[in-house]
């Protein structure tokens, strides 16, 4: 007995019962389809989040003031004053893994222009901030060193602020707006950036020289945070370590003392968000996997029915020379063909579903090739696993009883 003959026998048997074959496959189709769709949608949502986050600069590094102890009393993070302009100078001078460093001080308040007013935030930064945060100018210019040193009352405005303060067609550059009563001359307009990965409007902001915000608005000498660019995303890790070393020296922290600041990289954030979506994908995939298992049990069920129903056929095949092994292989091949065919249809179905989903949710269309390969493998295994027992049952029938079975 050769496998070509057995395959032909199995195909003929399936063709004789097309409708039942399709019904049996349905479980596998839905199972595989949902596994593929879930994993693909998970992968594409991960990619879309990654894309959005890399818009914010994946090589960005943030330094925030951290815990502080004053004689055993923990101070909150928000009013910590551990970062100073001296730190900026030190980082600019010593850090090899950083290309740009900018301080940031910010406050929120009401921006006013004529009859219009708008609640927004003002960020006190230096010129390198645009590169670090991946902002670009639409119009005008960035402030100069001279303006920074002279606490100049100038600013750049984001698109949301422009829309809310200026009438259509009015060029904001050269106009003067007021922020918390302080007049600021608009010298530039930022290009629109849209929402970030967390749904925050990145265009609702005003940028001004950090010196102006520090002294004129907040009346402080420390800075609230530091933004910097690492040489590359891959070097983020090394850059974080370097920043930590420099700042510990600056702050004269003893060996073993806690950091009074916190360094985070955008790469870390991406990792964090990715791990959340990975977890979700895994969860959805597991649920879909269960439905695949149910599909497999469906195949076993039908194969059992089929063996009982075809007892007489099995007896006949045995009496004309079919060995137990031939009979077993026939039923096993039938089960595997059902599950693989179901798997192929399921892959097509799942891919189509994830295409529709990516279209509807406006995400990149990704086919998780690993998931496709895996489902295919799983289908074959399911066919063999769940086909085995009914096939054994068929092979172990007594030909005398089977052929006379009514």
């Amino acid at each position: 007995m050769n496998y070509r003959n057995l395959t032909k026998i199995a195909t003929t048997a399936l063709k004789r019962n097309k409708f039942r074959a399709i019904l049996t496959m349905l479980g596998i189709i839905i199972g595989v389809g949902s596994v593929i769709a879930m994993l693909s949608i998970g992968e594409s949502s991960k990619q879309s989040i990654r894309e959005e986050m890399s818009d914010m600069g994946t090589n960005m590094i943030m330094v925030m003031p951290g815990q502080q102890r004053r004689g055993g009393v923990m101070m909150g993070n928000s009013n910590a004053k551990s970062l100073t302009l001296k730190d900026i100078t030190a980082l600019k001078k010593d850090a090899k893994y950083l290309t740009e460093v900018s301080p940031q001080v910010s406050t929120s308040g009401q921006a006013v222009k004529g009859n219009n007013n708008w609640p927004t935030s003002i960020y006190g930064v230096d010129a390198s901030y645009l590169d670090i945060r991946k902002y670009s100018l639409e119009d005008g210019r960035i402030f100069t060193d001279k303006e920074i040193n002279s606490l100049a009352k100038v600013c750049l405005v984001g698109q949301t602020v422009v829309e809310n303060l200026f009438a259509d067609g009015v060029d904001p550059v050269g106009q003067t707006i007021r922020f918390d009563g302080i007049p600021l001359k608009v010298i530039g307009v930022l290009k629109e950036k849209g929402e970030n990965g967390m749904g925050m409007d990145q265009d609702d902001m005003i940028l001004a020289p950090y010196t102006s915000v520090q002294r004129r608005m907040l009346a402080i000498t420390h800075i609230q945070s530091i933004y910097a660019s690492a040489v590359s995303e891959e070097q983020s890790e090394a850059a974080i370590e370097e920043v930590e070393t420099i700042l510990r020296q600056q702050h004269k922290l003893k060996e073993g003392a806690d950091d009074d600041f916190e360094v985070r990289s955008q790469a870390e954030m991406v990792e964090m968000v990715s791990s959340v979506t990975d977890m979700l994908t895994l969860l959805l995939g597991a649920v879909a996997g269960i439905s695949l298992l149910v599909g497999g049990i469906g195949i076993m069920n039908i194969m059992f029915v089929s063996v009982t129903e075809r007892t007489k056929e099995i007896g006949l095949r045995m009496s004309v020379g079919g060995r137990g092994f031939d009979i077993m292989m026939q039923f096993l091949i039938e089960a595997v063909m059902l599950s693989i065919l179901g798997g192929i249809i399921g892959i097509i179905f799942g891919t189509g579903l994830s295409y529709l989903a990516s279209f509807a949710l406006d995400m990149p269309f990704v086919v998780d090739t690993q998931a496709v390969g895996l489902s295919f493998l799983v289908c074959s295994v399911i066919g063999i696993f769940f086909g085995w027992y009914p096939a054994r049952k068929a092979a172990n029938l007594d030909p005398i009883d089977a052929v006379r079975h009514e």
Binding site: R317, S319, I400
Partner: protein, 250 residues
């Protein structure tokens, strides 16, 4: 005397049913020769079915020897017995046992599927030839449910011929058929026998047994008597003598 195709000696078969032991065969000696056409007869419980199962290599005797075409089947394992059935035996059943929703041709091809030496082209040719021998050359693509009972049994006979067996074993092959169709089937068997086929035919109908050359009657697991049929029926003549049935259309 011609060569013995089947040779059994001292054949016994015991079945265990719960605590009891049933002696289905209690020592049978029998020989079937090449070109023989023997009826195995007997009432139910006489052991004729058990005998047929053993002759058909579907069951093994508890004691005794069985040689089929010079091969001792007592020493063979299950798979070798399956090979023996495939190469040397042809089966015909009372209820035809055709695969449903499968054409006559494919039904006849079935035994050859289990013979890896036969390629698909040869398989088809041999099946077509077998169907021609039983007069169904024009029904090859018909499904069993499109065929009459007699035609279905002819397909089954073709299936038993397709592997060119040394002996054909028929189990009540006319049991489900009316008289005329029975005679027609017997006519086919007589023709096959005239052409040299060895046939063993199990039946409980004495008039069917009279179409054969020899009658072997079983009773209580033993051969009660063995007779040569002297006034043998000729199926062709009998069919001519049958009254013309108005309902019957050939």
């Amino acid at each position: 005397m011609s060569k013995a195709i089947i040779k059994v000696s001292e054949l016994r078969k015991d079945y265990h049913v719960g605590e009891m032991t049933v002696h289905a065969l209690r020592g049978v000696d029998m020989e079937i020769y090449e070109g023989d056409f023997a009826a195995i007869m007997g009432t139910s419980g006489s052991g004729k079915s058990t005998m047929l199962n053993i002759l058909g290599c579907l069951d093994k005797p508890t004691y005794g020897e069985y040689q089929l075409d010079g091969v001792n089947m007592g020493t063979m394992n299950k798979n070798q017995l399956a090979g023996l059935r495939n190469n040397k035996l042809g089966f015909i059943f009372q209820s035809y046992n055709l695969l449903p929703r499968t054409t006559a041709l494919e039904n006849v091809e079935l035994p050859l599927f289990y013979n890896s030496k036969v390629k698909s082209k040869e398989r088809k040719e041999r099946a077509m030839h077998a169907l021609e021998q039983v007069g169904l050359a024009d029904r090859m693509d018909h499904m069993p449910n499109q065929l009459s009972g007699g035609q279905q049994q002819r397909v089954a006979i073709a299936r038993s011929l397709v592997n060119d067996p040394v002996v054909i074993l028929a189990d009540e092959a006319t049991g489900n058929l009316d008289t005329r169709t029975s005679y027609e089937i017997m006519e086919l068997f007589q023709r096959l026998n005239d052409n040299g086929k060895t046939i063993v035919f199990v039946t409980h109908e004495s008039d069917i047994a009279r179409f054969m050359k020899r009658n072997i009657v079983f009773r209580d697991g033993r051969i009660q008597k063995e007779t040569a049929v002297t006034d043998r029926f000729n199926a062709t003549e009998l069919i001519k003598a049958l009254p013309v049935d108005e309902d019957y259309e050939s």
